[in-house]
């Protein structure tokens, strides 16, 4: 899906746990998430800590959208 949206000319970042899959299926901008069942949360943390974690990762995704890249890139969190 990421690939098709990017082909349409829309800049897209994929937030994925399996960054290598995201990468191998053709996503150019990838930001790692926490886990498959809770990409942007963590049951071991409090609600507030989870929100901070989520905001941080989404912030990296926004940065990825604002970054010009030469090759497919995994943005470290």
């Amino acid at each position: 899906m990421t690939k098709e949206i990017e082909k349409a000319g829309i800049t897209i970042v994929q937030m994925a746990n399996l960054v290598t899959i995201a990468h191998s299926v053709g996503a150019n901008r990838v930001v790692p998430t926490v886990a498959i069942p809770y990409p942007l949360g963590d049951p071991n943390l409090s609600e507030e800590e989870q929100y901070q974690l989520r905001k941080h990762r989404v912030g990296i995704a926004l940065k990825a959208l604002a970054t010009n890249i030469e090759e497919p890139t995994i943005f470290e969190v």
């Binding site: 746990n17 399996l18 290598t20 899959i21 191998s24 299926v25 790692p32 926490v34 886990a35 069942p37």
Partner: protein
């Protein structure tokens, strides 16, 4: 470790006065057998139905298959799950070959359950169509998961094991038709000739993606999600140390029947000392977190390297996300200089045009493909249904959908929902080819 497997080739199964095995015929006292099934009060209804190859019969929702067996000496059947925890793989085990106990839902199916046709075009899909199936059709009081798509199917799976053990008892004192001996000495006690052959490991990636307990494959009763890759003796697996879980579309699963009959392990045992030096089985898992996937892959690589493996066969119980665990392990082993053959199914879509695995690697250059989960099957009606055909359409079966069961009883489904049809342990002659 030495395991003697005594095979009794069952020609027929019927109901009768006394549960016994005589001259190739297994007779079952239904009442007594059902009493064994109902030892668990969670079983609320139970019946036994026999389905034979060629019968105009469709069975669904099938939750598990177990070979009727007994331990004659040296341990217990299914240690750590059905019976107390103790080592498996030693002594003598008797098995009723050509039969399986199937745990079948009377009404309720789910994502992970399967379908078996005993004749017609669907009978080619899965090896279970070739067995005399003793179907335990039962309902349970597990109300908490009745309408859940994902079911643990605990009561039915355990009832199936009890029934298989009860039937296996019939041959405890008898002389088998054939005997197979499995013996694999410690690495330092092998002949020089054997030690000079290329060392090979078998890597078994068990389905373990569920975080909640009760769904994943169990190793001596231990959830495969909560383990790190470990080295096991092949005999342990052939003797019931691993039982199947209750998660993943059915065609991708390895039933307990298939674990104890793992044909890849058996073939590697036969090759041992002739063409290879079989080093053992690395039991690994399939995870949902990237770190877990990496950690398991590193463990597999380290174990294989430390054992001196030159070759490996990697078997994946699942498709989709687990493809990445499969590819990680292959990459790690190949990077360590170990030559790998992978055995798995694929998902190319109904039109066959999608990429076969979600993760690809040029290092995965030797793959045995055992099926396409999304192959569309149109199957004619059957005279009889064992179980509840509507479960395929109603209960979120991975191969079915609303409306896939037609009024005349014919069905449309994806191979996903065929019971353990993609035989990743190597028990079937199905493959995928390019057109």
């Amino acid at each position: 470790m030495r395991l003697e497997l005594g095979h009794f080739f069952v020609q027929d199964v019927r109901f009768g006065e006394k549960t016994e095995y005589r001259n190739g015929v297994l007779t079952i006292n239904k009442e007594e057998a059902i009493r064994v099934v109902r030892e668990d009060e969670h079983i609320t209804e139970a019946d036994l139905v026999i389905a034979k190859p060629g019968d105009p019969v469709r069975i669904t929702p099938v939750k598990e298959a177990i070979e009727p067996r007994c331990k004659v000496s040296g341990g217990v059947l299914f240690p750590g799950t059905l019976n107390k925890l103790m080592p498996a793989g030693n002594g003598r085990t008797h098995a009723l070959k050509g039969t399986a106990v199937l745990a079948v839902g009377k009404h309720w199916g789910g994502f992970q359950d399967g379908l078996i046709d005993m004749s017609g075009p669907g009978a080619k899909q899965t090896m279970f169509s070739q067995l005399i199936n003793i179907c335990l059709v039962a309902d349970t009081d597990e109300a908490f998961e009745r309408y859940e798509q994902q079911k643990k199917n605990r009561a039915l799976r355990w009832a199936g094991m009890r029934l298989a053990q009860y039937l296996g008892q019939t041959v405890k004192e008898l002389e088998p038709d054939e005997e197979e001996i499995f013996e694999l000495p410690p690495l330092n006690q092998r002949s020089l000739k054997t030690q000079q052959l290329p060392g090979v490991v078998y890597v078994l990636q068990l389905q373990s993606q569920m975080l909640d307990s009760g769904y994943n494959a169990l190793v001596y009763g231990w959830d495969a999600n909560r383990m790190l890759p470990t080295l096991m003796h092949p005999n342990e697996i052939l003797d019931g140390a691993i039982i199947s879980g209750s998660f993943m579309p059915s065609s991708s699963k390895i039933s307990t029947y298939q674990h104890v009959n793992n044909l890849t392990i058996k073939r590697l045992m036969r090759e041992h000392g002739k063409t290879i030096n079989f080093l053992g089985v690395i039991v690994s898992n399939l995870n949902v977190q990237l770190e877990e996937k990496k950690r398991s892959a590193y463990f597999v690589r380290q174990l294989a390297t430390a054992l001196g493996a030159e070759g490996a066969i990697v078997c994946e119980e699942g498709y989709g996300n687990p493809d990445s665990d499969f590819i990680y392990v292959i990459n790690e082993l190949e990077d360590a200089g170990i030559k790998v053959v992978g055995i798995t199914n694929e998902c190319t879509g109904r039109d066959g045009r999608s990429q076969p695995l979600v993760e690809l690697s040029d290092k995965a250059d030797a793959i045995v493909s055992t099926g396409n989960v999304s192959q569309l099957l149109r199957l004619p009606p059957m005279e009889r249904v064992i179980g509840d055909l509507q479960s395929l359409a109603r209960d979120g079966n991975s191969g079915g959908w609303e409306g896939c069961v037609k009024e005349d009883g014919s069905i449309e489904m994806e191979n996903n929902g065929m019971f353990c049809a993609d035989g990743v342990t190597g028990d079937h002659y199905k493959t995928v080819v390019e057109y």
